[in-house]
């Protein structure tokens, strides 16, 4: 059952992404990208990442895509001319993207069993058989501390300094966006 739902949403995500890059109108492209992001949120739920799914809908499909829509409407780009590149570039793109896809699909050989065999070579890991059971680590953490707590504990303990640096990054982005969008700099 989970597999069926996964493949339905995966097909929806791929189809929406393909339509997003093939639509001439930027407005239609944004709407197809929103559809991709909703499908990804559903897939996150299937992967036991409920909190990430909520954040995906709120931040990506909600905030960032509304920003894109707002800019497209502001610049009045709804009825754009065709902006695809020429035939030679399309052919080169197909070759490059095909090679890239083949390389990335090699990740499919990244299986838990092979990982366990590799980790068993290392002395620090105790028993790989108990370590790599389906979704066990995140499920155990979610049961022990709640869905949000399982994310918050590493965020505010192990990754506290990167978290604070992120706030500086966002401040810089706010200042930069305001300065860039001002009329007379």
């Amino acid at each position: 059952m989970t597999e069926v739902v996964f493949y339905v949403f995966a097909a929806m995500a791929v189809l929406s992404a393909a339509l997003c890059i093939l639509q001439r109108s930027p407005m239609a492209a944004v709407l197809w990208l929103v559809s991709t992001m909703f499908s990804l949120a559903a897939i996150y739920v299937l992967l036991n990442a409920q909190f990430i799914a909520a954040i995906q809908v709120l931040v990506y499909a909600g905030a960032i895509m509304v920003l894109f829509l707002f800019v497209i409407m502001l610049l009045n780009l709804g009825d754009a001319q065709s902006d695809f590149r020429g035939t030679s570039t399309v052919a080169a793109t197909l070759v490059i993207v095909g090679l890239l896809a083949v390389e990335l699909l090699a990740l499919l050989y990244y299986s838990p069993r092979r990982l366990a065999a590799e980790f068993s070579q290392w002395p620090s890991y105790s028993d790989p058989a108990t370590l790599f059971v389906a979704g066990q680590i995140t499920q155990q953490e979610a049961v022990a501390r709640g869905v949000v707590g399982a994310v918050a504990t590493p965020l505010f303990q192990v990754y506290l300094i990167p978290f604070e640096i992120t706030s500086v990054l966002l401040l810089a982005a706010i200042v930069g966006a305001v300065v860039l969008a001002k009329r007379n700099v």
Partner: protein, 98 residues
């Protein structure tokens, strides 16, 4: 578990994002394809977090904040360019003669 299918979906979405960046000339559509690539990376982080613990979720947060910052600054730059050129087509944005 769905680890392998998730990584395959992530690879396909990333490749589609790269194809969009190479195929299109509209600057806003280019930014959307970059967002698509970031989403693909997020998916592989979430899939691998099942094996390696919740550190992958934290990385997803960092990727999302970088994506938000990039979208805000990038769209501000696009608005600035549109104000000068009345266009967001990359053919008209050739100040550096690239």
């Amino acid at each position: 578990m769905l680890l392998g299918p998730s990584l395959a979906l992530s690879a396909i979405l990333f490749s589609l994002g790269v194809a969009g960046v190479l195929l299109r000339r509209n600057a806003i559509v280019l930014f959307m394809c970059i967002e698509l690539m970031l989403n693909a990376v997020n998916l592989s982080f979430v899939a691998l977090a099942q094996l390696h613990g919740a550190g992958g979720y934290v990385m997803v947060f960092f990727v999302m904040s970088v994506a938000a910052a990039e979208a805000a600054v990038g769209l501000a730059i696009i608005i600035g360019i549109f104000r000068h050129k009345q266009s967001v087509d990359l053919r008209n944005i050739n100040l550096l003669r690239g």
